[in-house]
């Protein structure tokens, strides 16, 4: 054995320009932490909101700059091939940030619930006098902003990671803040804490599988770089066994984050328990990040062995679409309903991914963005329907909202129609894109199941609409809060994008199409 001398190690060249967006996000998150430590209490909220939005807008601007300066066309690897700056990576980073900005608007809202949707002092025992006091009066803690910045930065790192180790680090970087954010609800704190415990334990469990898969693949290929794994996969003479076990374990970790059946079990509980703005963030941004990782692994590392694993992942996609849709039918809580719908939607994206050609990438990217905006607006609306205990999420409480709040009911109906895939909404164009890409890739069965499940999924959406318009409101019906400027902006953006991408999808499809080339 040759001892490795310190002198042999050369530091890899890092193209700071190319990874500037990630650096901006993580750097500003640190600024947020410092602000939290040193600023007086009254100043924290405006400063944190400002830092958070500025970081994301600056990151987005940098990404656009990179995309325009041809990084999409001439992709590069940097930091010792650990990070890829290519079309899909930039698109996904941009998507995470665009959706993140809207989610931040929801998080920062303070007029719907007095003092914001988050707990003021997490240390107070739930249900005590002090807890009631803090729920009534005190403004939210502002740690949520740096936490969300860390999560978004981790997601951006995740979608551009070019080796498994970086991917694992990024996975933890974006997961850990999310676990904490789930626990920060101002009301129903027990539910929120339980959600956090569940999410954390199951998340850690699945990431252990993920890293076990990495170890297997390292044993197989002798490297954790996607390119090396791809090379090792086509060179004969190596035992495929390790590779397939590794791939399966890896897929489990990713499918867990993407909420695919049978790794979806946490989703309804966590979506229900987490504060609704955080749920919105998870349903949109985390989904983008998870599928970014799935796309990169499948299209870069395992493209050549696709004939072996595609049927298996195909079955998962079918299960995800069908079970998500069926279980959505039985739900009685709006947040759980949206959770199951997000599971089914993960199946649709997976269908697009499995096309295994360029269309598959671009249509999945497109779908992720369309779904993200719609789901953000939907959860944003959920925050507005309230009674004295906080949000009234049980479906029976939504009866008759169409009469009490015609505008809210109208927008929600529009979003439901989009989820149901009615034309002239982004839900239709998105599904159309992924399904036609999958058909182009020969995945007819998947598409048939997809169409059937989307038909099935129309029923629960319709039920909500019927409930809102055709039933008498209860005597103690919840009130509809007047959205503050931030929530209004988030809702308006979500609804307008849903309409825009339904009528004129080529705006985004062209971008997705020109971005759909991974660097190998």
């Amino acid at each position: 054995m040759n001892p490795v001398l310190a002198a042999d190690i050369t530091l890899p060249h890092i193209n700071y320009g190319a990874i500037a967006p990630i650096l901006i996000l993580l750097g500003m998150a640190c600024v947020g932490v410092l602000a939290e430590a040193f600023l007086p209490r009254t100043l924290r909220y405006p400063v944190q909101v400002l830092v958070s939005l500025v970081a994301q807008v600056a990151g987005l601007a940098t990404i656009i700059g990179l995309a325009l300066s041809n990084y999409a066309k001439k992709p590069t690897l940097t930091a010792g091939d650990a990070l890829a700056v290519d079309g899909p990576g930039l698109f996904l980073q941009g998507a995470v940030l665009v959706l993140g900005i809207v989610a931040t608007l929801l998080i920062a809202e303070r007029s719907v619930e007095r003092g914001g949707a988050f707990v003021a002092q997490a240390a107070v025992t739930a249900g005590s006098e002090a807890d009631a006091e803090q729920a009534r009066r005190q403004p939210s803690q502002t740690e949520i902003f740096p936490l969300s910045l860390f999560a978004l930065g981790g997601m951006m790192l995740f979608v551009s990671a070019n080796d498994l180790l970086t991917m694992f680090v990024a996975l933890e970087v974006f997961s850990l803040p999310l676990y904490l954010m789930c626990a920060l609800a101002r009301r129903r704190r027990l539910l929120s804490q339980e959600a956090a415990v569940k999410y954390f334990l199951l998340g850690a469990f699945s990431s252990a599988f993920f890293v076990y898969g990495i170890a297997m693949l390292y044993g197989f290929a002798g490297s954790v770089k996607f390119h090396d794994i791809a090379v090792a996969a086509i060179s004969s003479g190596k035992s495929d066994l390790l590779m397939f076990i590794g791939l399966a374990m890896l897929a489990i970790g990713l499918l867990f984050k993407a909420a695919a059946v049978p790794f979806h079990v946490w989703t309804p509980d966590v979506y229900q328990g987490a504060p609704t703005p955080v749920t919105a963030l998870m349903a949109s941004c985390t989904k983008v990040a998870a599928f970014g990782g799935i796309l990169r692994i499948f299209y870069v590392a395992f493209l050549d062995s696709r004939w072996d694993w595609r049927p298996v992942i195909g079955v998962i996609a079918v299960l995800t679409m069908v079970i998500g849709a069926i279980l959505a039918v039985t739900q009685t809580d709006i947040k759980r309903l949206l959770a199951y719908s997000s599971i089914a939607n993960a199946g649709y994206v997976l269908t697009g991914v499995l096309a295994m050609q360029k269309d598959g990438i671009s249509s999945s990217l497109f779908y992720l963005v369309t779904y993200g905006f719609t789901v953000l607006a939907a959860f944003g609306l959920v925050t507005l329907v309230r009674d004295q205990d906080g949000e009234a999420t049980h479906l029976s409480r939504w009866a008759g909202l169409g009469r009490k709040a015609p505008v809210l009911a109208g927008v929600f109906t529009f979003l439901m129609l989009s989820f149901a895939g009615i034309p002239l909404t982004s839900g239709f164009t998105g599904k159309f894109a992924v399904f036609s890409a999958a058909l182009g890739g020969g995945q007819t069965t998947l598409v048939i199941f997809g169409v059937l499940s989307s038909v099935l999924l129309a029923f629960p959406y319709l039920r909500v609409v019927v409930l809102m318009y055709l039933q008498e409101p209860a005597a103690d019906a919840p009130t509809v809060a007047v959205p503050g400027a931030l929530t209004s902006a988030a809702l308006a953006i979500g609804a307008i994008v849903t309409l825009l991408l339904g009528v004129w999808p080529s705006v985004l499809l062209d971008v997705a199409n020109s971005a759909a080339q991974f660097v190998g």
């Binding site: 079990v265 279980l327 039985t330 058909l439 182009g440 029923f459 319709l462």
Partner: protein
């Protein structure tokens, strides 16, 4: 049409380059009416009528422009809609004789019914919103018939569906209306899913849903694919047009206001299925099995509609089942292929006039009778509502096919063509069509006699039924004129020749030499039906429902078990599947964990933990999934 012939559309120039206005005008009006809110209450109905009237005038102009053109099919590309890789869809319009015909039907009949609705909805506080939905419907329907690709048609298809659900559920305080709206939505979704899959098949095989590309490429496809496409399109058409097995929503849809029943659920939207099949004629021409199935569906549905129609006592339900049955005739005709496509469209137009007239007449009767719809509670109304009596009478004579009214010109050739199919199919389908004509005569006579003649059987609160106001009478009179004249005018005005560019032939199958005999036979059957009904019902009928003496009557009252059929075929498996999924998602897995824990810990107290949401049961699900994924990958690799 021979398959070698290429379908070509020229791009639109001159007057026709503004053909998109047809869709845009009602859409803009709908937007104004729905967005402006109460401010538009005073003049909303006028705008609603004016916009559809303007579309009608434009439609006429475009129609005459198209007549003057040599190449009678123009297309107009508006802008790029979806582009994914090699798939490309444009917003585009196809204006050819078929769509021109539909445009005139939709805007013409639509305008009359809009005017009628001004009077009918006068008391309704939501009249402005009603006109908004009505305009929305009109623009979606125009998009449906003007789109130049299946996708455009589909967008209109969903749009008319949406407007239809909104309007069926109009009387929100009636639970039946809400249920009917839901039912219509659900059954239509089944059909829509089939339509979607058909489009995906086109995408997968031909890379486009443009009419031109699909029709030119369909000849080269394997027969299985063509057949699948045809059957899926048929399923979509069945959903929208209320054909078997998706017919059950249409009669329930009569819960909406009567003008809605007349326009959407009689004259226009429900005929969209016929339009779809006629438009996709190259696909159906390429698969004779597919055509036979269309014919069979049509023949079966027309009998089903007739039989149920005989057993119903609600005037609008009878008309609704009559619609189901008449659309069955249209399906039968377009399924026969060749020149019979034109016969189907001809019957569609004629039906649009007389059925709209009949519905408006029914609405007028209800208007005068305090919204009574029970046939047993009418009687002797001809004296009080002479105009309604006359217009409904003309519509009635038209639908049963008395010469020289329009039904005679449109229905008899279909019966003739069905017999001309030859072989056992000719006999089966021909006899079904003939029997249907007799039954139609029976139940329509029953409806007419029970409503307008015989003794008064009114409820006590009605003293003096009144005729409707002029704004409602005028459309009824115009539609009656249409029911009288449309058939003959169209047949002698060269309607089949006009449609030749679309269907490629004018040759109608039929027994030329025996035509007179066929006409004689079918007239005889019709007269027998009329006579029986007149003898049975001229003295009125019992005021309460009689016990059903035969299984047929019982079955007919139960809508021939259509709802039971739906429950068993669609709902039951759905429910079972849901239960199974819920079980395995929660309780099942959890049961395993509980069992495992009990085995390991040897304690039975675990049973109290039989509820979902345990971290450990979730972890077990994940582990189970992981093992299955690994095992499946191994199996694929090694197997």
């Amino acid at each position: 049409m021979t398959l070698a012939e290429q379908v070509q559309y020229q791009s639109a120039t001159g007057a026709l380059s503004s053909v998109w206005l047809l869709i845009a005008i009602p859409l803009a009006s709908a937007a104004v009416l729905l967005l402006l809110g109460r401010k538009a209450d005073r003049w909303g109905h006028i705008l609603g009528c004016a916009s559809i009237g303007a579309s009608f005038v434009l439609g006429l102009w475009y129609f005459f422009t198209l007549r003057g053109l040599g190449h009678k099919a123009v297309s107009l590309d508006l802008f790029n809609f979806i582009q994914v890789g090699r798939f490309k869809v444009d917003w585009g319009i196809l204006y050819d004789p078929l769509s021109a015909t539909f445009v005139l039907l939709i805007t013409g009949v639509g305008f009359l019914i809009h005017v009628y609705a001004v009077g009918y909805m006068k008391e309704d506080p939501g009249r402005r919103r009603f006109f908004g939905y009505f305009n929305l419907f009109a623009s979606a329907m125009l998009l449906l018939v003007l789109g130049n690709s299946f996708l455009m048609t589909f967008i209109g298809w969903e749009g008319v569906g949406l407007a239809s659900y909104l309007l069926i559920s109009w009387y929100q305080d009636r639970p039946a209306a809400a249920t009917a709206g839901k039912k219509a939505f659900l059954m239509n979704r089944v059909g829509d899913a089939a339509f979607l899959v058909a489009m995906f098949l086109m995408f997968a095989n031909l890379g486009s849903t443009d009419f031109a590309t699909v029709f030119n490429g369909v000849g080269a496809l394997p027969h299985g694919v063509t057949l699948a496409m045809a059957l899926l399109l048929l399923a979509g058409a069945c959903g929208k047009s209320g054909q078997f097995p998706l017919q059950a929503w249409l009669p329930d849809a009569m819960e909406g206001p009567t003008p809605v029943s007349a326009l959407i659920h009689a004259a226009t939207m429900v005929t969209a299925g016929v339009y779809l099949i006629a438009r996709s004629n190259p696909i159906f021409d390429a698969t004779s099995l597919g055509q036979t199935i269309v014919v069979a569906v049509g023949a079966f549905t027309l009998l089903l509609g007739c039989v149920i129609g005989c057993a119903k006592d609600d005037i609008k339900r009878v008309l609704a089942y009559s619609t189901v049955s008449q659309i069955g005739y249209m399906f039968l005709a377009v399924g026969l292929g060749g020149g019979a496509y034109a016969l189907g469209i001809l019957h569609l137009l004629a039906h649009g006039f007389f059925k709209a007239g009949l519905f408006l007449g029914a609405g007028s009767v209800m208007h005068g009778m305090k919204d009574q719809t029970d046939l047993r509670r009418f009687g002797g109304l001809w004296r009080y509502m002479p105009v309604t009596w006359a217009t409904v009478g003309l519509g009635y004579l038209a639908i049963i096919g008395i010469p020289p009214l329009s039904g005679f010109f449109s229905k008899d050739p279909i019966i003739d063509a069905a017999f001309a199919r030859g072989g056992w199919q000719g006999w089966v389908f021909g006899l079904a069509a003939l029997l249907g004509a007799g039954l139609t005569a029976f139940y329509m006579t029953r409806l007419f006699v029970l409503t307008f003649h015989g003794k008064k059987r009114w409820t006590d609160d009605i003293e003096h039924p009144h005729e409707s106001p002029g704004v409602m009478k005028l459309p009824m009179i115009l539609l009656a004129v249409g029911s009288v004249a449309a058939g003959g005018l169209l047949v002698y005005g060269g309607f089949t020749t006009w449609l030749e560019p679309v269907f490629g032939t004018t040759e109608v199958p039929g027994h030329e030499p025996n035509r007179a005999m066929m006409i004689g036979i079918s007239l005889a059957v019709v007269l027998v039906g009329v006579a029986i009904a007149w003898l049975l019902f001229r003295r009125g009928t019992a005021l309460v429902e009689q016990p059903a003496r035969s299984p047929i009557v019982r079955a007919a009252r139960e809508n021939l078990y259509g709802d039971v059929f739906n429950e068993t075929v669609f709902e039951l498996p759905g429910k079972l599947l849901t239960r199974a999924a819920v079980f395995f998602d929660g309780k099942g897995i959890d049961g395993i964990v509980t069992g495992l824990a009990a085995i390991v810990g040897g304690s039975s107290s675990r049973l109290r933990r039989l509820q979902t949401g345990f971290v450990r049961s979730y972890a077990l699900t994940i582990l189970g999934g992981a093992l299955v994924v690994v095992a499946a990958l191994m199996a694929v690799k090694l197997g």
